[in-house]
């Protein structure tokens, strides 16, 4: 079976959920191999084995992390050539899409982003225009390079695991690259990330500076916290929480929108959620047009009541 190369970027001590999803998909489509950046810990190597990865490729040169995208793309294309990969899968973060973009130029290969499904002949399903169309797309030149959205694949380890062998790939580090000169890590919240979460509770200008009720409800539901641009612009919550056209696109099972009017730029990031709940004081707020369940009311009383009730029912 043909090799399907999965790009894995600095997973740390264990694979991310999206890595596991990509490895599962790679095994459905062919023989999974990993193009791996970062420290390969014994635990991660073992985990890769459980997904049937028998070959892990690492760059010959350290320090690719200090270059913006260019170095990682040079590595991924070298790994693809070394493995004669039939397809390359990456996650759907902004950086992964850009690594895919440059690898595409290097390999003269088409790139399809935002995939929600990939069939055995590498036909890709994705949605465009903020979820208003579902399209089927194919790569017509080179090795299909596909970036896959989180939650598109159900994680499944291989029936039989293996012990991966590591290989080194020579990388010609591009001279023309921007250098990352400082990096400040943000504290981890303990909540699922927005992309991966099955439940998102989002707050907007209506929270009036207090995300407490949003966070409490997110926590009883095991969900992530999102926000409108008005809330991030006001500095009530970090920009990374923004959902929408210029923030994250999410499609969780449940999206609870509270104190958000539902401007087109906000809707475009959340309207593919399975179920949408809206809480807003204004009965005419546009968000109600797309809500499966809408409450005209004050979020500062409605959300805590719901949170309390869920706690009670969960015992």
């Amino acid at each position: 079976m043909a090799t399907v190369l999965v790009y894995i970027d600095n997973p740390g001590d264990s694979l991310h959920k999206t890595d596991r999803e990509l490895l599962t998909l790679a095994r459905i489509l062919g023989t999974p191999a990993a193009a791996f950046i970062g420290e390969l810990s014994p635990a991660v190597a073992e985990e890769l084995g459980t997904f049937g990865v028998s070959s892990v490729y690492q760059p010959s040169t350290p320090g690719l992390d200090e270059l913006l995208v260019a170095g990682k793309a040079a590595f991924l294309s070298a790994a693809a050539s070394a493995t004669q990969a039939a397809a390359i899968l990456l996650g759907n973060t902004f950086e992964a899409k850009e690594i895919a973009a440059r690898t595409g130029i290097r390999l003269a290969s088409g790139v399809i982003t935002d995939a929600v499904a990939v069939s055995e002949d590498f036909q890709v399903t994705k949605s465009v225009f903020a979820g208003s169309y579902t399209v089927q797309a194919t790569v017509t030149s080179g090795t299909p390079i596909v970036t896959v959205k989180a939650n598109s694949v159900e994680v499944q380890p291989a029936p039989e695991g293996c012990v991966p062998e590591t290989h080194t790939v020579d990388v010609d580090v591009p001279a023309a690259a921007a250098r990352i000169t400082s990096r400040i890590e943000k504290a981890a919240s303990g909540r699922p990330t927005l992309d991966e979460a099955q439940v998102v509770v989002a707050g907007g200008r209506g929270v009036d500076g207090n995300f407490g009720p949003i966070e409490d409800l997110a926590d009883v539901l095991g969900g992530a916290v999102g926000a409108s641009r008005a809330a991030t612009d006001a500095g009530w919550i970090e920009h990374a929480a923004q959902v929408g056209q210029t923030g994250k696109t999410v499609s969780p099972r449940l999206y609870i929108s509270a104190g958000i009017s539902g401007a087109i730029q906000q809707k475009s990031g959340m309207q593919t959620a399975k179920v949408i709940v809206a809480v807003n004081k204004d009965a005419d707020a546009p968000v109600f047009e797309i809500a499966d369940f809408g409450i005209v009311g004050d979020l500062s009383t409605v959300l805590p009541q719901a949170t309390e009730e869920i706690r009670k029912r969960k015992g």
Partner: protein, 274 residues
């Protein structure tokens, strides 16, 4: 301005895209974008504003700096350039050729890279963080690869400074997990997010002044590209099929009478979401 440094030439890429305020459509057997109700992509306004601020910080037009707005697309796409001229770009370029229709990201990048090469001596290629139609964010990175320039993408702030007589660029970027600073020398390809600034509006005077600014029209032959490298033929991906998604319909709307939180939990339980 420092005598040893050359005047800055900034190329801002501006795309003519369907207005996101209206329903957008795919059309024809190739499922290409219907561009009838199109405008300058609002995300490109941040790039244009960033370009104008960069040169204003270093003496502006008087110091010889120039901002050129570039677009590619059918006849109507020139409107994106015209809007950019009203906002403050100094001149414009419109690459137009029937063969360009249906270009995917790779075809678009090849064409735009050829325009930038044709202009020559461009110090910064500035773009928005994504087009609001394709939404892929592939083009800036592909341009950097094709032009063999450093890429500084998703900048949320931008500074051009002096480095021993040469221009040097420093930018901040933010992701889920970190905030970082990146640096490179020029020339470079830069994309900016909507966090970077508040785009200005053209005033009456600027609109009148824009009428005197020049827009240069280029064809594929002018930039030395073959039709087979762009458009549907030169694209490396193809849309095989497209189905409009049924629009979401309104569900149950209730007004809080003191128990809405409880009714919300009932709803979640019914939907098996607890």
């Amino acid at each position: 301005m420092d005598e040893t440094k050359s005047a800055l030439k900034i190329a801002v890429l501006v795309k003519h895209v369907p207005d996101t305020q209206f329903d957008r459509h795919l059309q024809g057997s190739d499922h290409s974008t219907d561009r009838s109700e199109s405008i300058l992509s609002e995300l490109d306004e941040y790039a244009l504003e960033a370009a104008l601020q960069v040169i204003e910080a270093h003496g502006g037009e008087a110091a010889g700096h120039r901002v050129t707005a570039i677009t590619m697309g059918p006849a109507a796409a020139v409107n994106a350039v015209k809007k950019a001229l009203q906002i403050g770009a100094h001149d414009g370029v419109h690459l137009t050729d029937d063969a360009l229709a249906g270009s995917d990201a790779s075809g678009t990048s090849r064409a735009l890279a050829a325009v930038v090469r044709h202009l020559g001596d461009v110090d910064i290629v500035l773009t928005g963080m994504a087009s609001t139609d394709g939404e892929t964010s592939l083009v800036p990175a592909q341009l950097a690869e094709l032009l063999e320039l450093p890429q500084v993408t998703f900048a949320s702030s931008l500074e051009i400074g002096d480095d021993d007589g040469a221009w040097r660029l420093s930018a901040r970027r933010e992701s889920d997990n970190y905030a970082e600073t990146v640096e490179c020398s020029l020339p470079a390809v830069v994309s900016v997010t909507d966090q970077i600034n508040e785009p200005r509006y053209p005033n009456f005077k600027a609109i009148m002044a824009a009428k005197k600014k020049s827009v240069c029209t280029l064809s594929l032959a002018d930039i030395g590209l073959d039709a087979s490298q762009v458009g549907l033929e030169g694209s490396w991906t193809r849309v095989e099929d497209a189905q409009p998604r049924p629009p979401r319909t309104q569900g149950t709307i209730i007004t809080d009478e003191g128990d809405a939180g409880l009714r919300l939990v009932d709803f979640l339980a019914e939907q098996k979401l607890l």
